[in-house]
Homo-oligomer: 174 residues x 2
DNA sequence: CCATGTCTATCTATCAGTAGATAGATTCAA
DNA sequence: TTGAATCTATCTACTGATAGATAGACATGG
């Protein structure tokens, strides 16, 4: 197994930090230390912070798309489950926010290309929920489910109660 | 009408900026410029940034509590409407995030007293939704509604589509 | 009524540390 | 020998924070 490229290591470190503290919550020096190189070497791979953050959001989106798979060949309800566990894993496994949820909240402070990449992320999920069979219930809007998931992540973390995620995302009974 | 105190002006400026860019997205010098004083004078009123942010979150929570009023004497459904329009106004009137929604997403990057103030905010809303008559539907959890509202704010802003807020928060038709 | 002291709010000036970014030298493998 | 990747060294601008001075309001006691 070949070592991960420096570029990937940088993105990994940036993702960890960005998903905790947001766009202004990490620096080139932070990432350099995490990876074990100098900050100028980080600039070699990503000339500006904006380019780094855009690459980050795009890689994040790509990974999500891979995990979700093609919405057109899924059993009814499977699409919903995949999306929900995507966010659930962010909370329970990574113990982090959704990168684009956090970036989205900071939209006004982002370089436009980063904001655009974040918008694409949300567009992807909404499209997936539209197309996957029975991903949303009758009358339920994809945007409603996606909003609930992003909000549940914030809520569960702010109140330090992972159970709140399930409470907030469970289907209302009856 | 007496002029607003410098302290309040500082908090107003901080709230505007924090609701766009988060905790690390504004500086003492930013606020000083906004208010028309020097950054050292901002430190006079709020010795540290953590104290400023905590005061910010607590004032925000207090204002929300005032707007919501006593949950115990409300017509059925009125509590829900008040909470929903709280978030709707943040989007359509202020064109800003919910302060505690953004701070909550950044939880790991906040000084503990700020994180605690944010937790109190969410506790207040959840408690209100529990107590106000028919604020949530049968089987619906207060956390589910609150999560949907915070998420809808992010979604609508990230996709630059205010209509998405209503789409995400509308009651599913039967 | 005035002199002394205290309080509030601001200022100027400065600190050490960090931010993003760049230039130019060096290393090393193909 | 060339090019990718890293380094050293540096820049300017900004960060949160502090020290010390100052001006004005206000009170208190002589």
């Amino acid at each position: 197994m070949p070592d991960q490229s420096a570029r990937d290591q940088i993105l990994d470190a940036a993702e960890k930090r960005a998903r905790m503290a947001g766009y202004h919550g990490f620096s080139f020096r932070d990432l350099a230390e995490d990876v074990g190189i100098k900050s100028s070497s980080v600039h070699y791979h990503f000339p500006t912070k904006g380019e780094l953050a855009e690459a980050l959001a795009r890689r994040y989106t790509l990974r999500v798309a891979e995990k979700l798979g093609d919405p057109d060949d899924l059993a009814p309800g499977a699409g919903r489950a995949r999306v929900v566990s995507l966010f659930r894993d962010a909370l329970l496994i990574d113990d982090r926010m959704c990168l684009c949820g956090l970036f989205g909240a900071e939209r006004d402070a982002l370089p436009p290309p980063v904001a655009a990449a974040v918008a694409d992320f949300f567009g992807l999920i909404l499209d997936y929920l539209e197309r996957a069979p029975a991903a949303v219930r009758r009358g339920e809007k994809p945007a409603a489910l996606l909003a609930r998931l992003e909000g549940a992540l914030i809520l569960a973390r702010a109140l330090n109660d992972p159970g709140l995620f399930d409470e907030a995302t469970a289907a209302p009974d009856s």
